[in-house]
Structure formats: structure tokens, C-alpha cells
Symmetry: D2
Subunit: 384 residues, 4 copies
């Protein structure tokens, strides 16, 4: 939707693929296949019919560009997609058994949750790397004295390990929330036209539970077509994760100022240079993370703002969530990945820290810094 050259935001091609058109279509077809299979299990169609539908879903030849135009015209993907499926199936009886009891929002919401699940896995991978790197850093620097700075002024001594422990604790906290919100949010949607699971002989809830299992999502006893708190909770948790990362980036960018020069992003050929100043070593990793953090709060606010959706299924609100949540996933992943690299290779100049601390003339008492780090890391280990 815009320029990758300008907007890659540190993310991976892998994450972009999770949210691209092909992925949307893939998950939508998986929804239809799972629906047929679950309905077969409940006797609404035969196992053979379900199998033929599954094959049609697996083999459907689709041009995503054409489909995008059709979906934009229809106002939703499911209408043209199901039409293509029906044409592919040929058999009129079978045509009527596709998408049975489902509405287009069931597909759209479930697709988004499937993408979110895949996106969460990538984020978790980067979180693991980042947390490991931060724990090592905190441990290694637990006793290394440095100048503490408050309200942008020199304050009193800390150890650099305490700063790293705080960074890690911020990521831990945000990571915990993200996992909770994922567990809360990643549900199948299956409600039908108005959330009543009508037209399925009272078997709608059993079908939903079965589908959820097939697709690896959790089951929501009540459809949630107009109940979006968990989407908002997930969005907020992504924004908080980004913010916890940006706290680290903010600190690194401050500590890397030439007059302070205590830590630096790892050197990489061709990274952080200037098109005009050969001596520059710009903190590009911090730039990416801070840029993500500038964008995230407004994205989370957009999702918060559409909570009051109309009646059984709203107009314009849930349709706004998908692209915005996509954006948050991509920004979060890019920020964490960038930060993991930066922390793994962080250059720390303990001698310069000692020098700056001495120059500040605030004594050498680092208080309980080291003890705080040690007990924090020990407690983390015992919980793991």
C-alpha cells in the first residue's frame, strides 16, 4: 500500500508475507474447507462432499489482483471468493453447501486471527532473542558503574547492568501482556448473518468448536462479530511492546551521543553512514524503533475508537481494524528484530562510563544496583 523503500521498518519479508493478499486468500479458503469438514462431522454434509470442497479450496486458481478489485467492489472478500469457489465446484448441490451458515465477516475475522497467530509466532521468536540478549547484557554489566541520568541531567551512579535489567523487565512485562492478549484474542469467528448460528439445526456451536480445533484457534461460545475488546487489547499490547522497545532505543540514542559515547549499535558496513558526512555513525536501529513507536499509539487509538460498533455487525468499524492491526504487527516485529540485533552486538564502553561518572563528580555509590540486577535475574530464572 505504499513504498517499501521508505516503510520497511526493520521487518522481514516473512512478516510481510503473513499479511499479504495471498495469505488472506489462503486463510479464507482454509476457513471454507474447515467449515465443510466440521459440518460433515455434524452430519450437515457428507464426508465426500467435505472432501470435494476441501480439494476445491486447495486447488482454486486465483488472481489476487482481480480478486482485490472484485472485493473492493463487493465491499468484502467473501462474496467474490465464494462465487469463484462455486464456479470451480460446478455441481449445483455442492455449490449450495459451501459457506453454509457463514457470513463474510466470519471469514474476514477468522482470516485476521489466523494471520495474527502467525504474526505472533514471529514476534515471539524475536522476543526470545531480545530477552536472551538483554539478560546476558544485564548479567555481564551487573557491577559496571555508570552515571545515572534523570530529567535529562546527570544524577547519581548506577550500574549499566541495572539499566539493562530495567530494559529487560520492560520487555518482560510487555511480552507477558502480549501473550495474554493473544491467548484471549485468537478465536475463530463463526456467527452467521447476525450471530445466531441460524440455519444449522442447532449444531452451529458444535461446528464452531470443531472448526476452531481444525484451524488452531480458540473457540468462542458467543460469536464476537460486534464485540471487539480483544482486538483492542491485542492492539494495545503490540503498541506497549513497541514502546518498551523504544524505551531501549531512546536510551541507546542518548548514550551514543558523541559527547557521551558510552554505547553504540553494532558496526555494520554500509549502515548508519551519511550521504554527506563520512564520520557519521547514525543509530539506524534506534531510528527504526523510535519511528515505529511514533506510529503505534495512533494505530492503537484507531482500534480503540471503533469499539462502539453498531448492532449485530457494524459498518466501517471492524473493516478498519484489519489494516491497522496488520500495521502494528509489522511495526512491532520490525522494532523487536532490529533491537535484538542491536542488543546482541551492542558495543559498551565501560571505560568511558567510568570517565563520565568521574567527571560528574557525584561519588561512586551505586547503591543496590548490582543486588537488584542479581535478584531480578535469579527470579526470572526460577520462573522460567
Amino acid at each position: 500500500m505504499s513504498s517499501l523503500i521508505r516503510d520497511l521498518a526493520g521487518g522481514s519479508a516473512e512478516m510481510l508475507e503473513i499479511f499479504d493478499d495471498a495469505s488472506v486468500v489462503k486463510h479464507a479458503l482454509a476457513f471454507e474447507a474447515a467449515l465443510a469438514k466440521a459440518q460433515a462431522a455434524e452430519g450437515l454434509l457428507s464426508e465426500d462432499e467435505a472432501a470435494r470442497i476441501a480439494i476445491a479450496c486447495a486447488q482454486l486458481p486465483l488472481d489476487t489482483e482481480v480478486l482485490a478489485i472484485e472485493a473492493a467492489h463487493a465491499g468484502t472478500l467473501a462474496i467474490p471468493l465464494v462465487a469463484h469457489l462455486r464456479r470451480a465446484l460446478g455441481d449445483e448441490t455442492l455449490q449450495r453447501k459451501i459457506h453454509l451458515g457463514a457470513t463474510s465477516q466470519d471469514v474476514a475475522d477468522t482470516v485476521l486471527m489466523l494471520q495474527a497467530k502467525e504474526g505472533a509466532a514471529l514476534i515471539t521468536r524475536e522476543l526470545d532473542r531480545l530477552q536472551t540478549a538483554l539478560a546476558l547484557l544485564a548479567e555481564r554489566m551487573a557491577a559496571t558503574p555508570a552515571l545515572g541520568r534523570t530529567l535529562m541531567q546527570s544524577a547519581v551512579p548506577i550500574t549499566f547492568g541495572l539499566k539493562a535489567a530495567n530494559w529487560l523487565s520492560g520487555i518482560d512485562e510487555a511480552s507477558g501482556r502480549f501473550r495474554r492478549e493473544c491467548a484471549n484474542a485468537l478465536m475463530l469467528q463463526f456467527g452467521g448473518a447476525a450471530g445466531t448460528r441460524a440455519g444449522l439445526g442447532g449444531k452451529g456451536t458444535a461446528i464452531a468448536a470443531h472448526m476452531a480445533g481444525l484451524l488452531g484457534l480458540s473457540h468462542s461460545p458467543l460469536p464476537w462479530q460486534a464485540r471487539r475488546g480483544h482486538i483492542a487489547g491485542l492492539a494495545a499490547s503490540l503498541a506497549i511492546l513497541i514502546g518498551a522497545g523504544a524505551k531501549i532505543a531512546r536510551d541507546i540514542s542518548l548514550l551514543a551521543q558523541n559527547e557521551i559515547a558510552e554505547v553504540f549499535e553494532p558496526r555494520a558496513v554500509g549502515r548508519g553512514g551519511s550521504s554527506i558526512m563520512a564520520h557519521k555513525r547514525n543509530p539506524i536501529g534506534c531510528q527504526i524503533v523510535l519511528s515505529a513507536a511514533a506510529r503505534a499509539p495512533g494505530l492503537a487509538a484507531a482500534i480503540l475508537s471503533v469499539l462502539p460498533q453498531e448492532q449485530e455487525r457494524g459498518l466501517g468499524g471492524w473493516q478498519a481494524e484489519a489494516p491497522v492491526l496488520t500495521n502494528l504487527f509489522i511495526l512491532c516485529h520490525g522494532a523487536l528484530k532490529t533491537l535484538a540485533v542491536a542488543i546482541e552486538g551492542l558495543e559498551v564502553d565501560a571505560a568511558r562510563m567510568a570517565h563520565n561518572l568521574a567527571a560528574a563528580n557525584v561519588g561512586l555509590d551505586t547503591g543496590d544496583s548490582e543486588a537488584l540486577v542479581r535478584s531480578f535475574l535469579a527470579a526470572r530464572k526460577s520462573q522460567a
Copy 2:
């Protein structure tokens, strides 16, 4: 800070008091007294000294207007407040033992958490009322047919109880998150100048744990002066609660349109009238809730935006959180209280619902609506 006449937002005087100047000062003095008591327990001062400090805190005569001017000048409350305390104590030795090892942000953060705890209690009270009223409504209307509406158009039949169950489920979900975020957030802050708990002979963490117990907050092994994810999580949870309430208000305002006329806010003399149209019955409760929901996302975004705070204690970021979080508490409480009243007295016109449903000519099959309501309510009961 502005006009109550225009901004009361459905809240109570009780909630406004929790966040007013007198309350800030009260909690700040409670912090200083608890600090002295905890330090006495750890042998840093005598029990007698702690008692004298506690008395001084309890009896300190303060003019909050003067203090506001002094705090604005100093840039923080603790500096003038501690100065007043010291003057009141007289004894120079004792003067040095006040506020020992604490920094002004320790006071400010702890005060905010104490206010948040009181605010959360009021919100919980209104949540209980609202959830009870919604559960009764859902039960009573479990089988009452109504027209489902999707994308702002007539869709297929539901029961009105299913709509109420969805409202309740949205509130349940948001309430669960709010409770989790409170449990996560309501911590004592005690880190000292740069979060190292220096100057306390290694007893800082024991003192912090003791103080937390005295003040009824949880204990954070690491001070969190520049780690603000839990504040953001709490803010987001308040915004989501408001949004879950506004979903209900949106629906009521749509259903109360004269051409639909299915539900109405309870009648109250002098409420909802027009200054010019005698026939009007404006949904004032919905207005209050929707208005809160218009304001909440931007407030949550503001708190999300200050996560990247600088170094050991930041400049401008945490100082922005307190008034914004205050605003969210007041708006949330007002919205829930208003909604509780509206749902308790909601007028539901089942005959009109039947009429509108018949007119829509979409049949009478409400699918699993009633079963969904019943099983949802049963599951809620079994969890309670």
C-alpha cells in the same frame, strides 16, 4: 481544570474527590509516614522518630492553592511538601530523616497508584451493578424475538436477550482485563534518585516491601521509574472498558430512534428534554457514554506515546501520565455509572420489536439465540 458544568461526564463527586488536590496531598503525606515507619522497622530511625514524623504528616496544615503554586514553580510536589514538613517538625536531626532515600517521583508515582486503587474500587462497584443489570436483562429477554441489524441494514432475527448477552460479554471481557491490569499496575514506587535505592545500607528493598504492605500496594522488586508499561496497560484497559460501554450506548441510541422505538433509556423528570422541542426524549445517558468513548482513545494514545522515557527517570513523559490517567478514570466511572442506571431502568418494547421484525419480512428463525444466551449465562454463573 475546566468547567464541571460542561464536563461532569456522568461521574460522581466521589470520583472527583479521589483525584483532587487534597487527595494528592493526603497520599503524599501517607507515603512519607509509611516511609518513616518502614525505615524504623529496618533500624534506620527510631520508632519514636517515625511516630513523630507520622504525627507531623497527619497534622500538617496545608493550603492546597499555595502548594499548587509552589509545586508548579518547583516542577514537582515533593519539594515544597517536604519543605513544609520539615518546617513543621522543627528538630533538625529529624528533618534530615524525612523523605530519606526517596525522590520526588517516588512520591508522585505512588500517589497516582493510590488514587488509581481508590478509583478502581469505584469503577468495580459500577461494573458490578452494570453486569448484574445486564445479566438480568439477558435472562429476561433470552427468547424475545427482535430484528438483527448488520451494516446498518435489517438482517435476520435474533432475540433481544442475545444482544444483551453480547453487551454483557463485552463488559465481562473488558472488566477482566481491567482487573488484571490493576493487579499488575498498582505498585509502590520506591527507587530513590536513580532507581538504585542508594543511601539505605542495602535495606532499600526491605523498606519498599514494608511500605507497599502499609499502603496496600504491591511490591515491585525493581523500581519502575522509567518502565511504564503497566501504566499504559491500565490506561488501555480503561479505554476498552469505556468502549465496551459505548457499544451498548451506540445500540441503545440506534434502537431508540423514533422510527425504530424498541428500547428507551428510563424516563426521568427533567432529563433528555430539549430547550426548544417539548416532544423530545434525548438519550442523555448514551450521549455521556459516547462522549467518553470519543475522548478515551486519544487519552490512551497519549500514555502509549510516552513509553520511551529517557534514561533512569525521564523528562515530560511520566509527568504527562497522571492528568491523563485521571481523566480516563473519571470518564470510565461516569460512563459505567450512567450505563448502569440506563440498563437497570431500560424500557424494552417487545411488541414493537415483534412489529419491526414482521415488517422486515425476514422470517422468524432466531437460530440458536436463546440457547446461546442460556449457556453463556450458565457458564458465567458456574465461574462466579
Copy 3:
């Protein structure tokens, strides 16, 4: 609405008064008196009746706390206020001639515009001070070499005057927009129940024009009850002004870091100290401005989010604007006032600048810095 001790935000008592309850009531009564006078001019009531109404408005004894409760109950101020006025007037014929053709939103919107006009005057006063101080600073330092810094790294030489000129240019730009948006926004509202100016014998527009003149607002040929773009434009312009100020505060806070130490906020006894570190000199002015800038974008977003107001007059949207716009005015005024003081007394250490520049080893070529400053200031003068 919350704690002044924590939330004064650098503003003046004068600005708080402009937006307090008494001011709301004062302007609401001014609206009613102007309406009567304008209607008398158009022959809808006699000059004597208008005069008696004006006297009643001027003399009405009101308890704003009671009125706040009544307004909260009614959902709008005008209903109880007009009822009080009618009781005060006694004469039944005259009672019917009050508030004739007006609706409560006419009062609320006009009151907000009258407050905004007064608030704009205060802001303009601080802008004048700040612009004058910045122009002097830019002129004085036009040729003073300093190190330019980009992407948080040392870059190439500038003059400090060029930085000040950029600060000023940012304020000029934002100030120009603010003035344009005020000129665009500060309109009387007079539309009646649904914006048709009914019940006034076709004289509604003449009455509106007359009232606008009496109240010092501009006249809107069409009532704007559900057309709120100018409110959003005004809100955005306030947020941009705050942001232009915060750019200056950000720079000062970076330049005042102890390792850089090039500029400092003016010293003031008791300001910027630490409750625990005697050596600290915290940039409290920057804190106030940066804090305002953290809050402003979300406030502007809230006002942007309510643009799609329903039908002839909306529910919940315009009611959200007034407290949010109030907040923006107070934050903007506090930020600019704080900054004016900081710039007027800014301590600039040119020797340290020279030292830091030499240490950076990036040569001494300040390019066109001085010429850019001189021509910028000359162009400003010629436009004034």
C-alpha cells in the same frame, strides 16, 4: 476536573478562569441577552422587553455547583439556565420570549467560541513575547558557531542563531495557522432546533448577524451545528503550536545535558531542584512543554474523530469537543508562557559551544548560517 497541583502545566490563573464554570455561565447569559437585543432590533420583541431580559441576565443569582448538577441531569446547560432565568423574570409573557428560536446547542457552541476568543487573546500575548525573545536570540547569536547535530550524532558546524531562527520560524508558521484557524472558527452559532432558524418569521439570519456583532464573533450564513471542521482545524492548530514549542524544549533539554552544557533555562530560586540531589538543575520549563506535547496529539485526534456527527445535531460528538478544546487551550498557553520565560532568560554558553565544536573535529565552516539568519530576520521585519 483533577489536581492542579499536578496538572497546572505552566498556565496562568487567568487562562483557567476563561474556561471555568463561572465563565461558561457568564457567556451563556450574554448569549441570551444578545439574542433578546437582536430580536428587538428585528421587531420580535420590544426594546423594553429586551432591556428587562438583559437586566435579568446580568443580575441572575446563580450557584454554579447546583447548576452543574442540574446541567448534568438535563444533559445540557441551557435547560436549567433558561428555567432559572424564567423564574427570575416572573412575567409569563416575557418568559416565553427568552431563548426564542434558540436551542441549547446554540448556547453551548457560542459559549465555547467566546471562551476560545478570550483564550486566543492570551495565547497571542505569549506568542508575541516568545517571538520577540526568539528574534532577539537569533539576531544576537547569528554568527556564533556551534556544533550541528543530526540523527542524535555530531554533524557539521552551524551558528546558534540559525538554530534560534529555525525555532522562531517554526513558531511563526504555527502562529500563522492558529490565527487563520481562529479567524475561520470563531463564529456565533444560531440555528435553532434543527438549523433552520424556524419560528422567527424569516428574520433568523438577520438576528444571527446582529448577535454576532454584539458578541464579537463572526457570522455564519449557515448554522454549523453538525459541521465541525473549523473546531477540528482550531484544535489541530493548537496542537501544532504546542509541537513547535516542544521542538524548542526538546533541543534545550538536549543542549543542557551536563556533557554538552551549551544552554540552560534561566536560574530561578527553588526551580528545577531535586528533592534528593542538591547539584541538580532540572529543565522544568522543558518538562512542562514536552509534557503538553505528549498530551496534545491525542486531544486533537479526539476532536478529529467526532467529525462524522449525526444528522442535524449529533449525539455525544460535539459534547466531547468542549472539554478537549479547553484542555488544548490551557496546555498551549502554559507551554508558550513557560517557553517565553525560558527564552527571555536563556543562558547561552558560547565558549562551551566553541569547545564542543572544536572537540567534534568537523571543521569550522558554518556555511550560509549567518546569511540565512540575517535574511530570515530581515524578511520578517519587512512583513511586519
Copy 4:
């Protein structure tokens, strides 16, 4: 950056192209060519050298996918792009004359402004269509009675033309601001490493003025690398335009409710259907516009939030603006285009309006509705 299938938002392929990777590269090369030409005019290089650079820019073979990876690594596009250009040129002397005196942000900012200019032209085209359609609608319906609705309740009579006039007036207002902000914002950026235009023998400003002319942007006497108010103003104006459009969409969606049924989006085969309910006629145009309006405020807030950029050129702030502004342009264009189609073909059922008005039993006095419409349209014409 995400799924077009889900995120097309009513826009055109034309608008997407304006902001795609190829366009970014095209404009970046145009910047370098214009720079060379302007420098030749000022004698910094020969006309022949400028011509050879222009040819290299025009003929440079580029793989945008590779370039995206290189730019992400370098943290900015200009570094790899200029390297490719230099390789293409071969001649070492000429290599040194490329990008002379420019920094990578000069390229990035100018590219964004060139894209914004093209985007503004597309938006203006849709605005013209929409304004024409609304003016015709207002004129045609100037005297058609309809029920006015306020606070979501039936109020008093209006004419439908008055509603359309208000819609148009909202678009006019927002359109005026958008044009002003474009005129204010669309400037060349040329400041060099730290905004001093160093290394150009004092000819930097003349070169900038010349380049601005070549590229069709306005000239900024001071470079604006860390002064971003005009970007924020432009972003806000786009959000307000979207909001003014969404006000119309909100009204149409309310009026198209089956129980009201006064207006409808134009019928189009395959648009607005339901995947499950054959009778549905969903207001898909309104959905697109309301969805854009849900996303815009947070995007504007993001751009407002980065105003306090650090020093001569910031870290993370301006890098966040480009993708966000891109998003606003695409959403605004899609919303206006969608709305233009909807208004051009709007089905208005005057008989139903009369029926609903009669049913409301609020009389037939439409006040000055028609006169207000006529004078509004006449005033518009006389200004055009």
C-alpha cells in the same frame, strides 16, 4: 505493506502508484538531476556535466526490490541510490559532483513533497466532482421537506436540500484548508548536512530557489529539516477532509436504515450484497468512508506527535511521517472518490421523506431552510 484485498479503501490504482516504490525512486532521481542543473546555472558544474548527470538519472536501471533492501540496511534511500548513480556515471570527477551539498533527508523530504503534490491533484479532482454533485443535490432538493433529527431523535422539519447544503459547506471548508495547507507545505527541501547549505560557495539558496522552480515546488528560504509544522498541518487537513466526508456517510447510513429508507447509495450489480442474505443492500460506500474516518485521526496524531524533532535533523520522527502521510493521502482519495460516486447517483425518496415527516407529527414548518440553501448556493457561485 499489507493486503490490498482488505485495504483498498476505495482508492484508485493511480493514487497507489503515486506513492509506490517506483515513484519514490523516480522523484529521487529527479531531485538529483534538478540539483545538477541548478548547480550548473550557478557555475558549480558545467552544463555538460549537468546534462550527463541528468541522462544518468533518466537511464539508471534499478531493481526496486534490491534497492529497498539496501535502503533498509543503510537507513535511508539516498545512500544506495547515489552509489548506484555514481557507478553508472563511471567518471570519478563527475561522481563527486553528484548530490553535491545535499543530504539524504533533502532527497527524502523533497520526494515526499513531490508525491504529495501529485496526490493533491488527484484529491482535488475528486473534490471537484463531489462538490459539483452536492451543489446539484442541494439545489434540486432545496425545498423538499424532510424530518430533521437531532441527538438521534426526531426533531423538526428541514428540507433535504439544507442537509445537502450543510454537507457541501463542510466539504468546502475542509477543501479550503487542504488547499491552503498544500500551498503552505509543498516546498523543496535543500539544506545539506545540517541545514546550513555549506560547501556551495554561498550559492545554496540560489540553487534551492532554482531547483524549486524546476521541480514545481515552492522555495523555502530556510531549510525545514527539523521544522515540520507544515507536514502536520497538511496531515490534519487530510484528516478533516476525511471527516467532512464521513459526516455525509454517517448521515446516508442512518437515512438508509430500512425503517427510515429516505436515501440510498446508487445500485450497482454485485455491490453491497451479503454472502448470506439475498435481500441486503449494504451501504458499502459509507463503509469505506467511515472506515477511513476511523483510521485518520490516529494517523494525524502520529504526525502531530513527532513535531518535537531533535536538533538540526531528528532521529525517527521525520522517518515516521512519510508512510503515515501516504496512508492519509490514500484514505482521503478513496473516501472522496467513493463519496463522489455515491452522491452523483444518490437515490432520494422524497415521498418517503414526506411520509416520515408526517408520521413524526412535528408540523411542516421548515423555517428558513430553502432560503438558507438558495443564499448559500448563490454566495458560492459569486465567489467562484
